[in-house]
Amino acid sequence: MWIPRCGRRACSLRLAHSLHRSLILFTESMTIASGGANADGAGRVCVSNLYNTVASRWSNWVPHPRLVAAMPPKRQTLFREPYAGGNVINGDFEQRTSAYRAEI
């Protein structure tokens, strides 16, 4: 039996930036397909970005390490390792997975 990945793919979000300055956002849990060429024959030029939750990953793609190293620190956080526990900078992760105050 297939096991639904409750919400995980639903948290994959696609942003496509067209060079005609438009922006389209859609959830990857939607049925989608690439369209044909424009009627005027112009090619499609777009940048398509895909986002995941911090603790999971659909593909194993990561930018070149030197490119990441050159990014501002906050942007680098977009490319951190996929895990949940404490994976936040200057944040308060403690107890976020438990209703009870305790050492885990």
């Binding site: 639904p4 603790a55 999971s56 390792e81 895990y83 526990g85 438990s98 209703a99």
Partner: protein
């Protein structure tokens, strides 16, 4: 193909072959309905005395040596995956439960486990060790990204974060075995204040002979408690399993030499963390 409709394929697809044998070639039994029901309903169950005799003695001695004289063990084997303990990580009873409650068909094949190892630890507790601290629970209500969830569908339970404990010494009930709040993985309320009392009736626990195996979902409210048994120390191997694409802790990597020496099927427990194409021996 019978799953095909005029416009595509039915979801869910059950076109998946789980490993029928573990990395040591041992047959993986089907999870008995009683255990399947207990895990889904209670969130935990215990199998007593899976190991005994010389085999248990060998594991016990290795674990004690790992604790007392780690330098006497080659570096690559110096951990809970070393020596006679390695076979615990994909023991047939373990694979049986995880195939049912964790493995995702799209990343599973006869040559590839559909789950991964997040951590493996030796707990060596003498009297007075072990701190009480309730955590987790309410597993049906977690947002994506929090791995401590539990999914329940008609005829299918899914525990993406599962703990498996090998008790290598006797556990006397109420003297330091893990505390569990039965059914709390599905609870929709948080517990009353008595949750902070380790001897409250809220808590379930167990006693068991050495060589026993405890399964519980990490979505369950649970806690360590102080080991008070003065007849023997607690020597337990705590193994934690996660989906292949996510986890609570950073990706766990065994020593490279140890990993390279493992059978290929066992190596798949330690693969990189992502979904697409992350399976051997199957097309995705």
């Amino acid at each position: 193909m019978e799953n095909q409709t005029a416009n595509g394929f039915h979801l869910p697809s059950d076109a998946c072959q789980f490993p029928a044998r573990n990395a040591d070639g041992l047959a993986v039994p089907e999870l008995p309905p009683e255990q399947r029901y207990a895990f889904d309903t209670h969130g935990w169950f215990l199998v007593p005395e899976v190991f005994s005799g010389g085999e248990l003695k060998e594991m016990h001695e290795f674990a004690a040596r790992l604790h007392h004289r780690p330098e006497s063990i080659p570096e690559s084997e110096r951990g809970p995956l070393g020596g006679p303990l390695q076979k615990l990580i994909d023991h047939p009873l373990v694979v049986s439960l995880l195939n049912e409650f964790m493995a995702h068909p799209a990343v599973t094949s006869s040559e590839c486990y559909g789950f991964s190892v997040e951590s493996t630890s030796l707990f060596y507790r003498t009297p007075g060790m072990g701190s009480f601290g309730p955590h987790n629970g309410n597993g049906l209500l977690r947002f994506p990204g929090d791995v401590h969830y539990y999914n329940a569908f008609p005829g299918k339970g899914h525990s993406p974060h599962t703990r498996i404990v090998w008790e290598l010494t006797e556990v006397k009930k109420g003297q330091g075995g893990t505390l569990l709040v039965t059914g709390s993985h599905k609870s929709v309320y948080t517990a009353p204040a008595d949750i902070q009392n380790p001897v409250s009736d809220i808590w379930s626990t167990y006693g068991c002979p050495a060589g026993s195996l405890l399964f519980f979902t990490e979505a369950l409210t649970h806690s360590a408690t102080t080991w008070t048994n003065t007849d023997n120390d607690r020597i337990a191997i705590f193994n934690l399993y996660s989906p292949v694409d996510s986890g609570f802790a950073k990706l766990y990597r065994p020593h490279p030499e140890l990993l390279a020496a493992m059978p290929p099927l066992r190596q798949t427990l330690f693969r990189d963390r992502y979904v697409v194409g992350n399976v051997n021996g199957a097309s995705v």
